[in-house]
């Protein structure tokens, strides 16, 4: 949403609505009257629209387009409304033309114009809008307003995408959803006349789905390393779509129970249905180095991943509909669309989600009144409100299973956190219990195969939620789990959740929410004291106390940076060797800890300290070993506070005191036995992301400079052409070539890009090396946690085994989260880092390392 549009909208609010705006909002707002009944309201609105046709056809079709793509839950009514435009008018006294033909004609104009909008969505591959327009067309097929043959042809055009050579998973999946969701709605009409064609459509979706078996295994929220086929506990979107279509086909595509049957209220309005024009789904824009990055909209808020979507199941089938049933699929995707569309306003989103029962058939949700039955139909079953699913559970399950998608949800996790909060504020009595049940369900999956990244996101959501609701949680429930192994996922979750709570609040506040069992030292749930700094040279008994104090005094006294640098230099020669520490390392450690000590009061104090003494840090960080010393000293200073480690390392990279590769090395070096826990993984991620961000920014800059130069050279050419109008010859051509050569600014940027790209490759290589080294070390217990038998015996696992299990999890996440980048450097990485796993060592661990890698890179077995 650009500011321009915003201003425009604001102006629009300020002045009275114009005629066209009134028309648009008459369409958009249908159904909002609490007494809404389609047979009353729709004919009235249709009549009003007709009086403004054909003159206002563009405004009316825009109203439909907005309604369909932004309030898809009203599509059954929008389609009926459009069909009604075809209906013969009541003969007006002054009517000159035959009434029926004029209605037909103007309604076609509206549909024609609507289709132009569809074509525009197609041109920019706006998949959600395309899919929702297909819903609309499908309902028009039920109304016999759109011809079944043209609808089938439309679906076939989308199905053609599935057979494109080298089609991306994302594109194929979106196209499959367009086809499948069209069939779910229009199948009852299409299947009668086109059995074979429909069977073919299903077959192409089926073969698409089958070709991603390995990738699906890598993105399941509940997973067993030894059994890639293990799929219980979650529903993969394409699998579910197929299950739904097969079920519907077996019954000759009956109407899905929850979708309002608005079309049954109205008679057929035209005898010559509209033929949707033929379309071709345009190819994806091919990524050319740099251009894609430059074109990327920096304001875009959704992230599209090229991986299957496996939705975690949190409730039983009686409580919420399964994604793999027709009604479940329809409802879940309806909720999901609302969550995506209203991302711009989470408060409105919460309200609309809670009002969703209004837009589905009565009896869909327990205790909620849905659409009123048509007049003259059987009176609603008295018990209708007593059957059905639980609305709040369905909303919360849709929302959380989206939040927990791997490798990443479509929006920032914090959006989903805030949306849950708004739902709870809007209806605490009903949403609260659904949230509580979800916490318990997720917790129960810890140690039962819940993916490490899902567990991390769960703890982040848990703590954010607690921060918004007074940190009230019944910790008592989990007291028995405190006797599990310390690195059991449940205990790791407890520690992490409390740590995240503490970051958002403060130690004493969190401590007093806990029962004594959790406060006990042996519970290892929370530290006894606030996670403060640890200045190693504070103790006068420390052998380096004196030199540290001397440097600290200078820094505190705000001495000039070069004086401090000089003093550090002097210290080096005065410090005698201490055990395990060279004088050089000692000085680095002292300098870093002194700066952090001075900057320990707050983030700003830290920034001020290091900005003032950047020269000192730089003079001490020339080699990779120096940088390791610096990170080690900082890591020890904030050893009790992982948040500060993250902040300090991030800024050290920002100020280019250390490089992302140094930080990655630190994370593995510091982890117990080099086995990453969640906090160490977070540090690895900070480093990888920093490296990726730098390359992206530089690519954008290069693209921008290129474009500027092209513009300049185009202008120069035009000018030259104008000047030498008549004598455009070889000489002039040569001159042009000279102008085209890269400017110094562009050359600098290109050089920077080359450096950063090389560094990025090294950063990824470093991380991969470390993972492979730990996981495939011969005779390591790493192997002892990946077999089926081992897993069955996990009740007796020791700390090391759980740590290895987690390490495998982070390796999987590393591969799937950074698949695009790993793919870019695949050739090098496979030779350098994975070489050993291909040749000599063919053990279980090497095999799993390799298999995970191949799966992430989309190489299906």
């Amino acid at each position: 949403m650009s500011r321009g549009n915003y201003d425009h909208d604001r102006r629009r609010e300020a002045i009275p609505e114009s005629g066209e705006q009134r028309l648009r909002s008459a369409i958009i707002k249908i159904g909002e009257d609490p007494e809404f009944h389609p047979t009353h309201e729709l004919p009235r609105v249709a009549k009003y629209l007709r009086t403004n046709l054909p003159a206002s056809a563009p405004a009316i079709s825009e109203g439909f387009r907005i309604g369909v793509t932004e309030q898809p839950y009203k599509i059954p009514y929008y389609s009926s409304l459009l069909a009604l435009l075809f209906a013969p008018e009541d003969p007006a006294p002054d009517a000159q033309d035959g009434p029926s033909t004029s209605s037909e004609h103007v309604a076609r104009v509206v549909l024609d114009d609507f289709f132009k909008g569809f074509q525009a969505f197609l041109d920019r591959l706006a998949w959600r809008e395309l899919r929702l327009c297909i819903h609309f067309f499908s309902h028009l097929v039920l109304l016999q307003t759109v011809s079944a043959t043209s609808m089938l042809a439309l679906l076939q055009s989308f199905a053609a995408v599935l057979d494109e050579p080298g089609v991306s998973f994302y594109r194929a999946q979106q196209a499959a959803l367009c086809v499948g969701e069209g069939l779910i709605r229009a199948g009852s009409v299409l299947y009668d006349a086109h059995r074979e064609e429909i069977t073919e459509l299903l077959a192409s979706i089926s073969s698409l789905s089958e070709s991603y078996t390995t990738l699906k295994a890598l993105t399941r929220p509940v997973t067993l390393y030894h059994d890639p086929a293990h799929a219980s506990g979650s529903d993969e979107l394409l699998d579910s779509l197929l299950a739904v279509l097969s079920e519907l086909q077996a019954a000759s595509f009956p109407l899905v129970s929850c979708i309002p049957r608005s079309h049954e209220h109205f008679p057929q309005t035209t005898t010559s249905p509209f033929d949707l024009p033929a379309v071709l789904v345009p190819p994806e824009v091919v990524e050319i180095d740099g251009e894609e990055a430059a074109a990327a909209d920096p304001e875009k808020s959704s992230i599209k991943t090229d991986m299957p979507s496996s939705y975690l199941r949190l409730f039983h089938d009686e409580s919420t509909p399964s994604l793999s049933t027709p009604a479940g699929f329809v409802l879940r995707s309806a909720f999901s669309d609302v969550i995506g569309i209203f991302e711009v306003n989470r408060k409105e989103c919460a309200r609309i989600l809670l009002e969703m029962p209004r837009w589905v058939e009565n009896g869909t949700f327990k205790g909620k009144t849905g659409v009123s039955p048509p007049e003259g139909a059987d009176p609603p079953n008295e018990d209708a409100n007593e059957t059905g699913w639980i609305l709040e559970n369905t909303i919360v399950e849709t929302l959380l299973s989206t939040l927990l998608l791997l490798p990443a949800p479509p929006h920032k996790p914090v959006y989903y956190f805030s949306l849950v909060t708004e739902l709870c504020k809007a209806s605490p009595q009903t949403v609260g219990p659904a949230v509580g049940k979800s916490f318990r369900k997720l917790y129960s999956l810890l140690g039962e195969g819940l993916d490490v990244e899902v567990a991390r996101r769960f703890s982040e959501w848990f703590s954010s939620h607690m921060s918004n609701f007074g940190f009230n949680w019944v910790w008592r429930e989990w007291i028995p789990d405190l006797s599990l192994a310390s690195h059991h996922p449940k205990r790791a979750f407890i520690r992490r959740a409390l740590e995240y709570e503490t970051r958002l609040s403060y130690h004493d506040r969190v401590l007093k929410t806990l029962p004594p069992e959790f406060q006990a030292a042996e519970a290892e749930a929370i530290a006894a004291e606030a996670p403060g700094p640890l200045f190693e040279y504070d103790d006068p008994a420390h052998p380096l106390y004196e030199p540290a104090q001397s440097l600290l005094t200078l820094i505190r006294g705000r001495s000039k940076a070069d004086e401090v640098v000089q003093h550090a230099e002097t210290l080096r020669s005065t410090i005698s060797d201490t055990p395990n520490l060279t004088p050089d390392s000692a000085v680095r450690s002292i300098a870093v800890q002194c700066l952090l000590h001075v900057g320990a009061r707050s983030f700003s104090h830290f920034l001020n300290a290091i900005e003032r003494y950047l020269a000192l840090l730089r003079s001490l960080s020339n080699t990779a070993d120096d940088k390791a010393d610096i990170l080690d000293a900082a890591g020890r200073f904030w050893i009790k506070n992982s948040q500060m480690v993250g902040i300090v390392f991030d800024k050290f990279m920002q100020y280019q005191i250390v490089e992302p590769g140094d930080v990655i090395a630190w994370a593995f070096r510091t982890a117990t036995g080099h086995r990453l826990g969640t906090n160490e993984w977070d540090i690895v991620k900070v480093a990888l992301d920093k490296s990726i961000g730098r390359v992206l920014l530089t690519k954008r800059k290069v693209a921008l400079l290129r474009k500027e130069e092209e513009d300049v050279s185009a202008r120069a050419k035009a000018q030259a052409a104008a000047e030498e109008d008549s004598q455009m010859d070889v000489e002039a051509e040569k001159k042009d070539d000279a102008v085209v050569s890269d400017s110094p600014a562009l050359q600098t940027s290109l050089k920077a890009l080359a450096t950063l790209t090389r560094e990025q490759r090294m950063t990824f290589s470093r991380a991969l090396d470390e993972f492979v080294a730990v996981l495939t070390k011969s005779a390591s217990p790493s192997i002892g946690v990946i077999g089926a038998e081992a897993w069955e015996g996990r009740a007796d696992w020791n700390e090391e085994q759980w740590q290895f299990w987690e390490m495998w999890g982070w390796y999987r996440h590393f591969c799937r989260a950074y698949a695009v980048h790993l793919g870019t450097y695949a050739a090098t990485l496979e030779t350098v880092s994975l070489g050993e796993t291909i040749g000599g060592d063919v053990g279980e661990a090497a095999r799993l390392v390799r298999q995970t890698w191949n799966a992430a890179l989309g190489r299906e077995m």
Binding site: Y6, V344, E348, Y500, D562, S602, A609, I692, A752
Partner: protein, 226 residues
Amino acid sequence: MAHIVSCLDQPSTYKDSYSKVERSRQAEVLSRSTTLYVGNLSFYTTEEQIYELFGKCAVPEEGGGLKRIIMGLDRNTRTPCGFCFVEYYTHGEALAAMRYVSGTKLDERIIRCDLDLGYKEGRQFGRGKSGGQVRDEHRQDYDPGRGGWGAQAQAEQERRTARERLYEDAQDGPGAVAGGGGDWREEDVQGHPYASGSGMKRGHDDMDDEEFQDRSNRPKGEPTDT
């Protein structure tokens, strides 16, 4: 997507009375702003708490991140007075915070965010007559999170006192506030240009000129600590 509902990431109609930027230009600056004003903070909320919450909107993989936080201070007492500026590296991150963080709780208070024209020297201080924020001078309610003293537990009291003293060394004038680190520069890798300390001048900091070369890692001035 603004036909059905309004977007939460739109700036308020607040006009900074001290700003010399014209209204039309102001809209333009806000449409690219990377800075948020954050209000209704507890006086005792720390920068690290703010970092934790606002960090959730950071997009480091697109070159973003949390650049710096500037705590709003009472002009006279140098104690936090309930607001701060959060500066990101990218505009998208600021918008995300407007959508997802504004109106949620931090330290058990509902905080409010607004897109801001960008930090300018001196803006970290309250403008009220008393030294705090103007809005607090109009406030009639008793608010323990914002300076009201109830019968607090001893530990709580100590925490609060410590928080209040945190910024007693805060300075004003040019360069009192750190920059947070700029874009990546090749020179920095090859040799440290500031090793001699000669480059310790405040960097050029014009909003329109935040380029690769100019928005450097140059230190922005004096540290505030003792």
